[in-house]
Amino acid sequence: MSFFLFPFDSLICILLGISFTVWFTLLLVFIIVPAIFGVSLGIRKLYMKTLLKIFKWATLRIERGAKEKNHLLYKPYTNGIIAKEPMSLEEEIKEIRGSGSSKDLSSPEFEMSDIFYFCRKGVESIMDDEVTKRFSPEELESWNLLTRSNYNFQHISLRLTVLWGLGLLIRYCFLLPLRVTLAFTGVGLLVVGTTMVGILPNGRFKNFLSEKVHLMCYRICVRALTAIITYHDSENKPKNGGICVANHTSPIDVIILASDGCYAMVGQVHGGLMGIIQRSMVKACPHIWFERSEVKDRNLVAKRLSDHVEDKTKLPILIFPEGTCINNTSVMMFKKGSFEIGTTMYPVAIKYDPRFGDAFWNSSKFGMVSYLLRMMSSWAIVCSVWYLPPVTREEGEDAVQFANRVKSAIARQGGLVDLLWDGGLKREKVKGTFKEEQQKLYSKMLVGNPEDRSRS
C-alpha cells in the first residue's frame, strides 16, 4: 500500500508547497500591501456589482417558480403589516365616545366603550409592535443566495439550487479561508505593532507611528471581512477633544470607523484574546478600558471620560450611546451619560446594506466567534458612513434633549426609524412608569384636570 503512495506523497507535498506560496503572494500583493498604504484596487466594487446582478436573477427565478405553482410569495414589508392610527389617547377615546354618546363630549366621564381603545391598541401591538422586531435581522425583499435569509424554500428551481451550491462552495472554500488568514494577519500585526510602538518614549513620533499602525491593521481587518465602505462628508471627521457617537449594529462598527480615522476606544476589560489586544493597544496610545466593577460607577466613568476629553493631545473618544446592538432599521434611545460631559459631539450614521450580508449581532442567539464566522461566510459587508456636522449642547437644553436631538439627526441621515424606546428592552422588562403615564392620561379623561375643576 505504502509503495503506491510514495511517489504521490512527494508530488502532493510539492503541489501544496507551490499553492501555498502562490496563495500568500497573491494575498500580499492584492490585499495586504494596498491595505498598508490605504489604496484600493477596485476589486471589491466589481465584486459587489456582479453579486447584485446575480441576486436580481435569483429573485426573478423564485418569483417565476412561485407563479408557475400558483403560490403566493412571502414578501416582507418594512412599514409594518397593519394600519395604525397616529392619534393620541384623548383623541381616540373621544372619537369612540362621539359615535355612540349623545352627551356633551367635553365633560369628563366614563363610558363603557372606552375599553375598546385599550383593547384594540393591545391587540395591534400583539400583531405588530415597534420594538421587538428591532432585535432580529432585517428581512430582505430579494434573495441573496444565503440560506439564512430565505423565506420561500419551496420555490427554488434546480438551476437556482445549483447556483446556491456554487455560492456555498465559493463562500466556504475560497472566501472563508482567505478572510480568516487576513483576520489573523491583521490582529497579529496589531498586537505586535502596538507593542513595538509602545517601547518608544511619548511624543509626536510615537503618536504618528501609533496612528499608522492602527490604521494599517484596521484596513487589513476591513479586507478580512470584505467590507465595502463609502465614507461621506469626511470634512466633519471627529477631532481631538471631542466625542464621536454612532448608532450600533455590531462590533464591526468599530473596525469600520477606526479604519478611516483614529479614535480612543471605550470598553470593559476582557480576558483572553480580547484582553491581549486591549493591553497592547493601550501601550501605543491611550484608550479607556474599565474594570467590570468600575462600569457601574457612573461618576467614575464620567470623570475618566471628561479627563480624557480635556487633554487635547488625546484622540477623540468613540462611544455607542444605544448601549446594545440594534438591527440597523432604527435608532433607539441614546443613554445620556456621554452627553452630560459638555464637549463637542461628532455624530456618525452607519447604514449597512443587508443584501450582501446582515451585520446585526444578535448577542442572545450567537456568541462572538459564531457571529464572526457568519460574517466571514457572507458575501460582503457593504455599508455607508456619514460624518454629520459637530454639535454642542445649546442653552437651556438638558442632556436628554441633547441626546434626542443628536439621535434624530443620525436617524434622518441614515434613513432609520427614530424610536424613543430603550435598546435595553432586548433583555429587560419595560419600566412601570410608562404604564403609569397611560393611566394618568386616561384618568384626566374621567375626572378632568385638577385645574379645570377648580375653575368650574
Binding site: Y74, I81, I96, S101, G122, V131, Y151, S443
Partner: protein
C-alpha cells in the same frame, strides 16, 4: 423567525384557518411569521411571558386581561390556531358578510362577537353579568392610582344605573349591547391589514 414561516405551515392548515377565521392566505403567513418570532421557546406555542415581552403591550393598562383572552380556560399555552381564533375577532367586517344567511354560524368577527370580546374583558368570573366589583376592577386597572376609591365608586354606580334595565344592579350582555348600540363597533374594534 421568518425563515421558517412558509415551510412549517402546511397548505391544508392554512385552508382550515382561512375557513375558520376569514383571514387571507398572505395575512395568515404573515401572522404565522409573527407567531414564530414571539415564540422564544420554539415549541410551537406561546406562554404568557412571550406576550409580556412586547413592551407596548406591557405598558397597556389592560395588558394582562387582553393576554388572558388568548388562553383557553385553565391553560397556559396557546397554539397558532388558538392565536388566530382570538385575533380573528379584530378582522374588519366585509360588506358581503353583513347580510349573511342566519342559518350559517356567525363569523368570529361579527359585531356581536366583537362586543362579546369586550364584554368578557369586564366579566372576569364569566357569569354573563358585569357586577359592580368587576366594573370597579377594570376601572382601577385603567386609572391606576390617580383617582380615589370614592370617586371611582361613584363613577361605577352611575354607569350601572344608566345601563341597568332589569334592576339587578349588574350589566348583562343584552344591556351592554343596548348601551353601545350607537358606537361604531365595526370600525373601533377592527384592525386593518395594509396588504
Amino acid at each position: 423567525m421568518g425563515s421558517r414561516a412558509s415551510t412549517l405551515l402546511r397548505d391544508e392548515e392554512i385552508e382550515e384557518i382561512k375557513k375558520e377565521t376569514g383571514f387571507s392566505h398572505s395575512q395568515i403567513t404573515r401572522l404565522y411569521s409573527r407567531f414564530t418570532s414571539l415564540d422564544k421557546g420554539e415549541n410551537g406555542t406561546l406562554c404568557r411571558e412571550d406576550f409580556q415581552r412586547i413592551p407596548e403591550l406591557a405598558i397597556n393598562p389592560l395588558g394582562d386581561r387582553i393576554i388572558n383572552t388568548f388562553f383557553p380556560e385553565g391553560e397556559d399555552q396557546v397554539n397558532f390556531r388558538g392565536f388566530m381564533r382570538t385575533l380573528a375577532h379584530f378582522r374588519p367586517i366585509d360588506d358581503h358578510e353583513k347580510n349573511k344567511d342566519p342559518n350559517v354560524s356567525e363569523p368570529l368577527n361579527s359585531r356581536n362577537n366583537k362586543l362579546l370580546f369586550a364584554f368578557r374583558l369586564y366579566d372576569l368570573d364569566k357569569d354573563d353579568k358585569i357586577s359592580r366589583d368587576e366594573l370597579l376592577q377594570v376601572l382601577r386597572m385603567m386609572v391606576g392610582v390617580n383617582i380615589s376609591d370614592d370617586q371611582l365608586g361613584s363613577i361605577a354606580d352611575r354607569t350601572i344605573q344608566e345601563a341597568d334595565q332589569d334592576g339587578d344592579s349588574s350589566i348583562s350582555f343584552t344591556e351592554f349591547i343596548k348601551v353601545l348600540e350607537k358606537v361604531d363597533v365595526e370600525q373601533k374594534m377592527s384592525i386593518r391589514f395594509l396588504h
